[in-house]
């Protein structure tokens, strides 16, 4: 089992994160009111663009500090320090304004406002990213973010009474500081409750390089490399363009509103109504629409909706501007609608999608990268928007220029969104690939040190060490080893001579080959099986007329070790040995070597393979014929057109185990050609239907338990822990539940193999590798599957592949997503179906034996037709039938 903590159910954690989001919204609303009012009152609007520029610098500085801290401290500690320090700053600002002075604090506060908003979203998003998996983020993050506009509405409504209560606008600073302290406290509590996910210090870097030095430098290097990757650069570009477009559309609203309502009271009334509508639309969208939309259409919608809608809205602005003019109410309505849609989509889909995308990044670099992108990119974009507006305002038609600039920025945003979505799938697959530890093969016999080791092993009195030394000698092939090998070729021990001559012959020494042939002839008749095995191995380097008869005799040697070595010497073109090699598959002592030999024989084995697969199709399940077919199909490793044609014919083999191996062999780097794709699609459909049968049976038996209670929830696909103490029980439904779990595991393996064939190993191998490894959390792999297959196709198979949910839920999802009907009947009907198997769908003697046992223990066996089970003649089933009799 993995040592990683299990993801919580989510509801409790989501409540705490929603609470943070609400309080965060209140802080933002109060701070926005007090900072803007104080600044405009003291300095006027002309100095606002300057604050935009300062925001960029301050945001970058703060985000760099947070990103650096993230390499050394856990998320909660950083959030608490940043948010707590901000609360103290706000309190200090309030103290500075006591007595009527301190208007200067409004400047820093106005700069703090957007930086704090970005950091707040980073902290809330990062906590969600740690506590929820990627599916949880897509489903629940909109609800979490919905807390922010709710808090903003509450903060806006509270502002006026608070000013009355506290005596001045500056008094709001005290309320803001208290709200910020509450936000900090909520982060502390969440950190304590979910410490297993949040209080985890950053792990070590994946691989320290010589030049990277200490961990700190390695982490910085890792972050720099990460930020330089195309995927992260696209996220940064997407977020910068998002902020730029939002800031420009925001400016247009205020600009057009000021032009439309010259009277301050009218303007305030409009802005009040506009803000209310904006928040209500945002909340409604977040609560009612965003979650289901994200679940159904995934990140494709999440990434593209906002830029596409804002681009369309900006084009509408341009048209309205041309038709109705800049002073028209229609333009004000158009820019306001655009901004409202932008806010709703930013909070509802964009933030959720970007947060989900950060899950692809390595966990130790996720927060630094997020802090850098959000904390630097967005403030820099705000600065840039200030400079753009200042520059465009100096042009002859500033309004047209700004609307046009908005259209262009949105077009670039749409394009970046498209690129980002395309990059997401490969980035996900790469992430899964990097998270698996794949060790390369160990190559021996390549260095002088290996030869020295071999000589020491040859001197050892322990025969096992000497044997290892001989193997190492035989593996030596480097030119610098030749003199030493020539010396060993004259060794008095025949085994050493054989191994040395074998190595020399393998490296192309013609003289050594002739001497080796003599040694092989002499060793073949030796009474020492070790020497005969060495002789057999040496046949790989010989091609003289004696090779074939010698190999034939050694393939028939009484020693399994010699037969194994002889099988290792079989190579392409040795067609005469096909029967001997195929027969060796049945012998457990030679199975592995025989499989390798079958692979080397290539197309020469196909005729036999066809016969074996055909026999297995009509043989009893779990019989020797099916076992032989499994071994032979697995051994067909040489890829040729003829082999693929044969395997394609048998991709839907009636025996599921044989079919699985055939599918595994068919997997290639690229997607399947059309004909094979159709066959594989049919296989997947049949397997999904079988999974429904299996889950239906398991759910029914659990709902109507026999005399002994059913195993605890977790169901098929979930390994059950043994009970504490007491003898093992084979009573009741327990073995049958285990057999159904095995059956579901087999279906899962078959579907994964079929998907690999259908979509290619390049795109899916890392995904299926993670999904096959039950000990690992699979959310990211499921997400990658959705990206590669498409949401609809993935949804049809994910309940088969994802065993985290209880069987009832998996069954329900399979039925809904595949438009299938629920299996009918109660436990009696299920057991009758399993025992009688009249439709020949179960095809498993193991399942049948367990079902007979369960029926017997339930006392209903005499109500079932046991004749088909008895006719199988399977000893395992017969034992259970005998219990009934």
């Amino acid at each position: 089992m993995s040592g990683e903590p299990q993801q919580p159910s989510g509801h409790g954690a989501v409540r705490w994160l929603v609470a943070q989001s609400v309080v965060f919204g209140i802080v933002a609303a109060l701070l926005g009111v007090v900072a803007n009012t104080m600044f405009l009152e003291a300095y006027g609007a002309q100095w606002l663009p300057l604050t935009y520029v300062v925001i960029g610098a301050a945001g970058a500085a703060v985000s760099v500090a947070v990103a650096r801290s993230a390499r050394r401290f856990d998320l909660v500690r950083i959030a608490v320090v940043v948010l707590g320090a901000t609360a103290l700053l706000l309190l200090g600002a309030w103290v500075a304004t006591l007595g009527g002075g301190g208007a200067w604090v409004s400047g820093p506060l106005l700069v703090l406002f957007p930086v704090l908003i970005q950091l707040g979203f980073v902290f809330v998003g990062a906590q969600a990213g740690r506590i929820l998996d990627i599916a949880g983020i897509k489903a629940r993050f909109p609800r979490i973010i919905a807390g922010f506009p709710v808090g903003a509405v509450v903060g806006g409504l509270l502002a006026a009474p608070l000013v009355d209560l506290l005596g001045s606008t500056e008094g709001l600073l005290l309320a803001t500081a208290l709200a910020q302290a509450l936000f900090t406290a909520l982060v502390v509590v969440t950190g304590i409750r979910y410490a297993a996910f949040l209080a985890v210090a950053p792990g070590p870097p994946p691989a320290a390089t010589a030049e990277s030095g200490p961990d700190e430098s390695a982490a910085a290097l890792g972050l720099r490399r990460l930020l330089a990757t195309r995927f992260v650069a696209l996220i940064l570009g997407y977020q910068v363009l998002s902020a730029l477009a939002s800031q420009l559309s925001d400016y247009l609203v205020f600009d057009r509103a000021a032009a439309q309502f010259p009277d301050a009271d009218d303007l305030a009334r409009f802005l009040g109504g506009y803000t209310a509508v904006m928040n209500v639309v945002s909340i409604a969208f977040l609560v009612l629409v965003a979650g289901p939309l994200m679940r159904r259409y995934g990140l494709r919608l999440g990434i593209s909706a906002n830029p596409v809608v804002l681009f369309a809205a900006s084009v509408v602005m341009l048209v309205v501007l041309g038709v109705s003019g800049g002073a028209s109410v229609a333009l004000l309505v158009a820019v306001s609608a655009a901004r409202i849609l932008d806010i709703a989509l930013t909070d509802g889909t964009t933030r959720t999608s970007i947060n989900a995308m950060y899950q692809v990044l390595p966990e130790r670099l996720r927060l630094p990268a997020q802090a850098t992108i959000e904390g630097t990119g967005v403030p820099v974009a705000i600065s840039a928007s200030g400079l753009v507006v200042l520059a465009l305002n100096a042009m002859p038609s500033p309004l047209t220029a700004i609307v046009l600039a908005t259209v262009l920025v949105c077009a670039a945003w749409v394009w970046t969104g498209l690129l980002l979505h395309r990059a997401y799938g490969p980035a996900l697959v790469d992430a899964l690939r990097e998270r698996r530890l794949l060790d390369g093969p160990v190559v021996l016999g390549g260095t002088a040190a290996d030869l020295h080791t071999a000589e020491r092993l040859l001197e050892s009195p322990d025969p096992r060490s000497a044997r290892l030394g001989l193997e190492l000698v035989a593996a030596m092939a480097a030119p610098e080893d030749q003199p030493e090998l020539a010396f060993l070729a004259d060794d008095p021990r025949p085994g050493v001579r054989l191994s040395a001559l074998h190595a020399l012959a393998a490296s192309g020494d013609g003289g050594a080959r002739a001497a080796l042939a003599d040694e092989v002839r002499a060793a073949e008749g030796s009474g020492d099986p070790d020497l005969r095995a060495r002789a057999a191995l040496a046949l790989t380097s010989l091609d003289d007329v004696d090779r074939l008869p010698t190999l034939g005799r050694l393939l028939d040697d009484p020693s399994a070790a010699v037969r194994t070595a002889a099988l290792d010497a079989v190579h392409q073109g040795d067609d005469a040995f096909v029967p001997a090699v195929v027969a060796a598959l049945d012998d457990p002592g030679t199975t592995v070597a025989a499989c390798d030999a079958v692979g080397r024989l290539g197309d020469a084995v196909l005729r036999v393979a066809e016969r074996v697969l055909l026999r297995a199709a009509s043989a009893d399940p779990d019989s020797l014929e099916t076992l032989r077919a499994v071994r032979l199909a697995r051994a067909l490793t040489t890829v040729t057109e003829a082999r693929d044609a044969l395997l394609t014919r048998w991709a839907g083999h009636p025996d599921r185990e044989v079919g699985r191996v055939v599918l595994e062999r068919l997997a290639a780097a690229g997607p399947a050609p059309t004909g094979l794709a159709a066959v594989v699609d049919e296989v997947v459909r049949a397997d999904v239907a079988h999974a429904i049968q299996v889950l239906g049976a398991a759910v029914t038996l659990r709902r109507e338990p026999g005399t002994r209670p059913a195993p605890p929830a977790g169901g098929p696909g979930t390994p059950q822990p043994p009970p504490a103490g007491g003898p093992p029980s084979a009573d009741g439904d327990e073995p049958l539940h285990g057999a159904l779990a095995d059956e579901l595991t087999l279906v899962r393996e078959r579907v994964l193999a079929a998907l690999l064939v259908r979509y290619g190993t390049d795109r899916l191998a890392p995904v299926t590798a993670v999904l096959l490894d039950a000990g690992r959390p699979a959310p990211l792999a499921i997400e990658a599957l959705e990206v590669v297959l498409g949401a609809t196709a993935a949804a049809r198979v994910t309940p088969v592949l994802d065993s985290r949910d209880p069987p009832e839920e998996r069954l329900h999802r399979l039925l809904v997503r595949n438009g299938a009907a629920a299996p009918e009947g109660g436990a009696h009907a299920v057991l009758a179906d399993l025992v009688e198997d009249r439709r020949d769908v179960w095809r498993s003697t193991w399942v049948r034996a367990c079902a007979v046992r369960a029926a017997c223990d339930r006392g209903i066996a005499d109500e079932l037709d046991l004749v088909p089970a008895g006719a199988l003649g399977d000893p395992m089933v017969d034992e259970e039938l005998d219990r009934i009799l």
Binding site: G589, T591, P728, A730, G738, A849
Partner: protein, 137 residues
């Protein structure tokens, strides 16, 4: 015991816990039941054998000479090393109470590993656990 009962017994053993029942059925069918009375000898120290035992019910004790190495309860295995690489038994094993065992020969284990090489990981894990429990770091 029927094959189903044997499979269930073997699935309680960590060595075979990950093996599907349908695969384990072939192993179970070729396993031999061994009943031992209290005090009865299961493994003689120094004997050269190539099979392992899975404890179905009862309790065993492994001794190196007079020194008690460990006690084994239901769900344990004993003699795995000899089943993988036949050598003289490094310890003697006797039953503490009436005990039921399943004996699995090396040939059966070889066949299982040949068809399911992925099971080698479970065996390595089991051996590492055994080495650690014997005091190695």
């Amino acid at each position: 015991m029927t094959t189903v009962e044997r499979v269930v017994a073997l699935q309680r053993v960590p060595l075979f816990a990950e093996v599907p029942g349908r695969t384990l059925a072939a192993v179970a069918q070729r396993a031999h039941e061994v009943e031992v009375e209290a005090g009865g000898l299961v493994i003689e120290q120094g004997a050269v054998e190539d099979h392992l035992f899975a404890v179905v019910t009862g309790r065993l004790v492994a001794r190196d000479g007079e020194r008690v190495l460990r006690e084994l309860a239901a769900g344990s295995t004993v003699g795995e090393l000899a089943a993988l690489a036949p050598e003289p038994r490094s310890a003697g094993v006797t039953a503490l109470v009436p005990t039921l065992l399943l004996r699995i020969d090396r040939r059966v284990l070889d066949e299982l590993l040949a068809d399911h090489p992925e099971l080698a990981r479970g065996i390595i894990t089991s051996l590492v656990r055994m080495i650690r429990s014997s005091g190695h770091p």
